[in-house]
């Protein structure tokens, strides 16, 4: 009997503690002695001890026994919830900071031994990996690099010929300065350093009939582009807290951007082809290239394992994997994992391979057809412009050898090593990163599988900080879609050195790490809330960790 009473007293204390802890509103910690609350049915059925969830934590209070995390306000999810509902079944390996010889240890090798270089200046994203050098492929790498940096020109059978008839840019580097991400702009026609591609789409995200998935606003005369341009507008955004932290300070405190978050919208200028009434135009950021060979070496099975982990637990994070895509070179379907919407499965079939073709419209033996639409051809015919030549396969405008070198370069771009991992603030930042659930989507570590194109990339422990899955980022991040593949974080701390800016996120709405975290809504809003509720010092530490990657 005594034991029975003891148990009830303990349970009462436990409920009291939990209900106090779970009651957090508008960033202010309030003591909540409300007795109303519930324990999810699944927890009861599983006979696990679970804190009481107060009804005030629910978005729809009537759905009191709903076990879905979708009904729980993000601000009510605490660090303690993250342990079971976000980080459950995750490994948090602690690679050595120092080797036995006293040199930098495995923790610094974000791209594994075969894929990491210790360059941290403006050329940090441009280096050949040790795998390239060791295999004697440096010259091929350098030759391939010429096609990334070179400007394609109009005309046939001349060096770098084959540009157009329509195109986005004359070179790859135009969108990938310093081989990374480009910056935000107000002017979509800006040729270099402009970080955007534009899509003209229907409300469901499908491309409007007649338009290419990447809108082409340039053309070699006499041909016409799909539009004269894209108008980009920027808008202020205020969250429900007035862009303030719980301690009262504004976001971006002390910066020129204090208290401000802004996001872009876009519209088409002088479209060539008809548009439905409900058309939309979205802009998306170009992404980095370094390390993509290593991401290519992650197996589909590993990605599916992570997908299953996220779906096996009751929690806010439910990543979606890409579709199965038939890969002609492999004769089988592979899991989509590249680009913002996992629309490309392998490096051989995109995104760089495809981007090269989409950007310049330069034909090659594996992409012999015009990057264009029947509607574009028909429009030209109506205008009396001869387009017959584009209705049949094109003669390759880049040789197989040059393209093969380009792919050696693409696959072989190394990841820069991490920096400053032994600084106490960086160590604390990593602990916070894991504790508040960032690591669930920004999965720190993978082991690559067998990788035939670059055998040295096989069985490497790499740390890209992505789960290779797409996540719903909320209506605040609605673009063509509102799900985005978790972008890798490796090398991000070097962006200001390689490209002179720190713009990031799917449409470059974030001007630095702090803003990027504050734009996490949807599945990741709980982490945003936990970040907001950190002390100023801890917020700084978390960002110092990101800068060290």
């Amino acid at each position: 009997m005594l034991n029975f009473i003891k148990k009830y007293i303990l349970l009462y204390i436990f409920i009291l503690i939990v209900s106090v802890g779970c009651s957090r509103n508008n960033g202010k910690h309030e003591t909540n002695y409300e007795v109303g609350g519930f324990i999810p049915k699944s927890a009861v059925a599983a006979k696990v001890s679970h804190p009481i969830i107060p009804f005030s934590a629910l978005k729809i209070p009537e759905k009191r026994d709903d076990t879905s995390f979708k009904n729980i306000k993000a601000e009510y999810i605490k660090d303690s919830c993250v342990v079971c509902h976000v980080n459950n079944k995750m490994n948090f390996p602690k690679p050595a900071l120092r080797g036995k010889d006293g040199k930098k240890g495995e923790a610094y090798y974000l791209g594994g031994r075969a894929g990491t270089v210790f360059t941290s200046n403006s050329k940090a994203f441009e280096q050949p990996s040790p795998a390239v050098v060791d295999a004697g492929l440096t010259s091929k790498f350098k030759q391939g690099e010429l096609f990334f940096e070179g400007n394609f020109v109009s005309g046939k059978n001349i060096p770098f010929g084959g540009l157009g008839p329509t195109y986005m840019k004359t070179s790859c580097i135009a969108c990938h300065p310093g081989y990374g991400r480009a910056r935000r702009t107000k002017d979509f026609s800006e040729e270099y350093g402009n970080g955007y591609i534009a899509t003209v789409h229907n409300p469901d995200g499908s491309i409007v009939k007649g338009y290419t998935p990447m809108l082409q606003i340039k053309a070699v005369k006499p041909y016409l582009p799909y539009a004269k341009g894209v108008k980009i507008s920027w808008h202020e955004f205020k969250d429900k807290y007035g862009n303030r932290y719980p301690d009262g300070s504004f976001y971006n405190e002390g910066k020129k951007t204090e208290g401000s978050l802004i996001y872009p919208t876009a519209d088409i200028i002088e479209p060539l082809l008809p548009l439905p009434k409900d058309y939309k135009v979205s802009i998306e950021a170009t992404i980095g290239i370094y390390g993509t060979g290593l991401l290519d070496a992650i197996t589909d099975e590993s990605i599916l394992d992570e997908y299953k982990r996220q779906h096996s637990i009751a929690g806010p994070v439910k990543g979606v994997h890409g579709k199965w895509i038939y890969e002609p070179s492999e004769g089988k379907k592979r899991l989509g994992k590249f680009a913002w919407h996992c629309l490309r499965a392998t490096l051989d079939n995109g995104p760089g391979s495809n981007g090269f073709y989409n950007t310049t419209n330069v034909a090659r033996s594996d992409r012999p057809h015009l990057y264009g639409t029947p509607e574009w051809i028909e429009k030209h015919r109506q205008l009396g412009i001869d387009v017959e030549i584009f209705e049949k396969p094109q003669h390759p405008e880049i040789s197989d050898e040059d393209y093969e070198n380009f792919m050696v370069w693409h696959r072989g771009l190394a990841v820069p090593a991490a920096r400053n991992l032994e600084k106490p603030e960086v160590k604390s930042g990593m602990e916070i990163f894991n504790r508040i659930g960032c690591a669930s989507c920004h999965k720190p570590e993978w082991t690559t599988g067998q990788y035939k194109p670059f055998p040295a990339y096989s069985n490497q422990v790499i740390r890209p900080y992505t789960d290779m899955l797409m996540h719903d980022m909320g209506p605040e991040n609605q673009g063509r879609f509102r799900t985005y593949r978790t972008p890798p974080l490796w090398g991000r701390g070097l962006m200001h050195k390689t490209a002179g800016h720190t713009d990031m996120f799917h449409d470059l709405r974030a001007r630095d790490f702090e803003e990027a975290i504050l734009w996490h809504f949807g599945e990741a809003e709980f982490a945003r809330e936990l970040f907001r509720n950190l002390s100023k010092k801890d917020r700084t530490y978390l960002i110092e960790f990101l800068k060290a990657l």
Partner: protein
Amino acid sequence: MKIEKSKLLCISMMFLSSVVFAADEQSILENYVENTVVVTYSNMSSAALDFASAAKKLKSNPNDANLKAAAEQWSKTRKFWEQSEAFLYGPAAFASLDPHLDSWPLDKSQLDTFIDSLNSGKVNVDAAYVRGGLGAAFRGFHAAEYIMFRDGKVRLAKDISKGELAYLSAVADVIAEDCIALEAWWRGSENMDKKKISILEEAEIETSGSYANEMKNAGKTGSRYESSKEAIEEIFDGCIDIVDELVESKLGTPAKTGNPMECESYCSGTSIIDVRNNIISVRNSYEGIGSDGKNISALVSLKSKEADQSVKNSIEKALKDIDSLKAPLFKNLAENKDSLKTAIASCKELSESLGKAKEIAVD
């Protein structure tokens, strides 16, 4: 606890030598940015202003003498540009000034179409039009070169249309703006000559900060360089990159394909001059200009005289082998076949020497 005098002396010496060494790196960086980078860019923007004046004079009074004068000013400006290509990192890259000034290859077909539209009077061109409405293929050194030179020679004034002359003048103005912007990015706009500043303001070109200060203050707050070693590594990588470009592209591609159109600057026939100036750019970065021993070379020499000498020898050998090429390159590819191989091998050797010296300098 007693510390022996000798140990104390030893510790003091070690401390002092590390201080002296750090100070050396600091003065090397100061010398590099002030006497090599900023001086080169300053000379370039001044030459570009002279080129813009000459192009304007040619537009209002087209004759062979004025065309020759404009062509000479173009060559002078181009020389400084090529002598800056060992420091294409930083503002030249992130402010897109490299592609704006030196877009290559030449898009002859689109340029001809554009010139036709100028000649037909459909388009009136000025600097604002070139800056805002046209892409990189229509501006910079090679667009200007195409108007003034053909087949390795300066054209005749009578062969150049009014439309082309107006276009040349506009391109020259934009080249000057871009060169001034590059100088301002490094020097800091507040330290610029008033005339140059007013040109930037008129063109609504904004720069911020001073990259020179960031390099000089490496390791301090406000600098993107976390240490002076990191900045020194950047200087080496800039040198290695341009030498590798000579190996793989500027010399390597024409040698491999035998195609005259692969020779950069084939219209003026100055490919070999470009390449020579690139090596000078490496020498100026490594040995400094009037550096009084405060240069990268001294830093390497302190640790390995052999490695330092190897870089210096490689630079001189590369220059000698480049000088032995018969100009113009685009007309003499077959005759230069063996000499090109030798020059490319020398450049490879220079790249390797620089790589070894870098390892030693930043170790």
